[in-house]
């Protein structure tokens, strides 16, 4: 409804208020006068009329007037509301919210506000910023849309792929923000993941048969399937290896895996497809020890070719450690550390500590956990690392006393 009202009036801000007003008006009038023949058209035209009233009140200039009268002349029956038109309106709204002329964080906030209908308070809590900051961000972005005249339109064909990349990035960021669940209230974060998946589904319907989009939806479903198993009591972190796989959401896996396979048959080869393939490799393993680490290492290698990043390199090293031996992985991580790109990133010493622990090198493992603890910033991760540190320190003194070798 919002999407259609924005298309008819060209004004984001006023449309938002007007749609709410239209619902209020419906609650008053329908019980009294009976529901109209076409409730949706009634709501849209009521919202449209509110916007027109507002614009009339604001504008004293003849030039603007003509523009407003053009919006006002459409009769409710002339407002086209076929499914196809509503799909187009939704798409236009998404592409406008994710326009590259807007800062990425503003794109994310605006999409959640206007496409998903989250309140400013909910978005602010989801991203751990004060409500006033988020409100200001939204005001600023809507002002830019109006004053720089961002089109409420589908991008032209030659720009579609590039623009769809931007839309997918926004969906991906909303999802990872929710999935990270490293701080903030868990259920709020969960709402972000759910919205991202909903957006992914919507996009797959709106732009059917797009392999990268399908891969993105598969990626989100496969990661999300582990949600219940990822945290224990008191938000304790449970590593993939230690997770109770009975808690994995089989329905999401059953939907995500075929979706990914379909995308791969269509030659999906982007970062979402590779990440989804890694998630699928985990999903296929009935037990942690059944994991095909060699395949996962190859997938990380491919991901590294696509988007070189030290974090991906670290993940690849961890996969190689599992596929071959901890010492091979450690050598790769040492090389990575020497490059210095990950200085200050707690997951590097944490990953080293994990491999040293697997080799029963307790003293070195304790040292590495200590380093990671100095760098970690969120509580659940800190508690996990402290637990591991205590564990290896215990083993170290036990082996020192000649009990364990």
């Amino acid at each position: 409804m919002l999407a259609t009202t924005v298309r008819l009036t060209g004004d984001f801000d006023l449309s938002e208020e007007a749609v709410q007003d239209a619902f209020v008006a419906a609650l008053e009038q329908w019980p009294r006068d009976g529901a109209p023949a076409s409730p949706y058209a009634w709501l849209v035209s009521t919202a449209r009329n509110r916007v027109v009233d507002q614009l009339r009140r604001r504008s004293r200039f003849a030039e603007k007037r003509t523009e407003i009268e053009q919006i006002a002349v459409l009769e409710p029956s002339e407002i086209e509301l076929s499914d196809a038109v509503m799909v187009d309106d939704q798409l236009r709204l998404i592409f406008t919210c994710c326009h590259p002329a807007l800062a990425v964080e503003a794109q994310v906030a605006l999409t959640l506000r206007t496409v998903c209908g989250l309140s400013t308070e909910e978005i602010a809590r989801g991203f751990l910023v004060p409500v006033a900051t988020m409100a200001q961000r939204l005001v600023r972005v809507k002002r830019k849309i109006r004053d720089a005249r961002l089109p409420f339109a589908m991008p032209p064909r030659e720009k579609l792929a590039e623009r769809l990349d931007g839309v997918m990035l926004v969906v991906y960021l909303v999802f990872t923000e929710g999935y990270a669940a490293t701080s903030g209230k868990r259920w709020l974060r969960r709402q972000l993941s759910d919205e991202a998946i909903r957006l992914g589904r919507l996009l797959c319907e709106l732009v059917p048969q797009n392999p990268e989009l399908r891969a993105l939806l598969a990626l989100m479903l496969l990661h999300d399937s582990r949600r219940m198993a990822r945290t224990g009591q008191d938000d304790e972190i449970v590593t993939l290896e230690e997770q109770d796989r009975e808690l994995w959401d089989r329905r999401q896996i059953a939907e995500g895996v075929p979706l990914l396979e379909a995308a791969l048959r269509q030659d999906a080869s982007g970062q979402y497809a590779l990440q989804a393939a890694i998630a699928a490799a985990h999903a296929r393993a009935a037990r942690a020890e059944d994991t095909d680490w060699a395949q996962i290492a190859r997938l990380y290698e491919a991901l590294l070719q696509k988007q070189p990043s030290p974090v991906v390199e670290l993940n690849r090293a961890a996969a190689i450690a599992m596929a071959e031996s901890p010492s091979t992985g450690l050598a790769l991580m040492d090389a990575l550390e020497a490059k210095g790109e990950l200085a200050g990133y707690y997951l590097l010493p944490a990953a080293r500590a994990d491999l040293l622990r697997r080799q029963s090198r307790w003293r070195e493992a304790a040292e590495a956990y200590g380093q990671a603890l100095k760098l970690v910033t969120n509580d659940p991760e800190r508690r996990y690392l402290s637990r591991r540190l205590a564990e290896v320190e215990g083993l170290q003194s036990a082996s020192g006393a000649g009990i364990i070798h």
Binding site: F61, E63, H99, A101, D147, A148, R149, L150, P151, A153, P155, P156
Partner: protein, 117 residues
């Protein structure tokens, strides 16, 4: 809707270009200007002398203060501008991306406040 298109580039880098390179760029600019004339988007535009010729004026307490140089020193300098007419930002960006300097400098696209608003 009118947009001012501000063309920024590094004067130091441009000073290193050969006569032949500069000649080719001027020719490309002439072609671009002609194309936006023909499409009806052109409203105005000029190349500017380098910032070393700039003078800044301020009125403070009724007194004029004149200083040498631009208002702010930046890595890239304003080297020219176009004023264009476009139906929306996408059309304006589509024009801006075709400006030769977009390939090495930066093009800033600013909507002009419409009269009477």
């Amino acid at each position: 809707m009118e947009y001012l298109i501000l063309i920024y580039g590094s004067e130091a880098q441009e000073a290193k270009m050969s006569q032949a390179e500069l000649g080719a760029i001027y020719q490309e600019y002439a072609g671009f200007t002609k194309s936006i004339h023909q499409s009806g988007n052109h409203r105005g535009g000029h190349q500017l002398q380098p910032v070393s010729t700039a003078t800044t004026v301020r009125m403070r307490d009724g007194k004029r203060v004149v200083t040498d140089g631009p208002f702010a020193e930046t890595r890239e300098q304003l080297g020219g501008f176009y004023l264009i007419q476009a139906k929306d930002l996408d059309e304006a960006l589509g024009i801006a991306e075709r400006i030769p300097s977009a390939r090495w400098g930066s093009i800033e696209v600013r909507p002009v406040v419409p009269p009477h608003s």
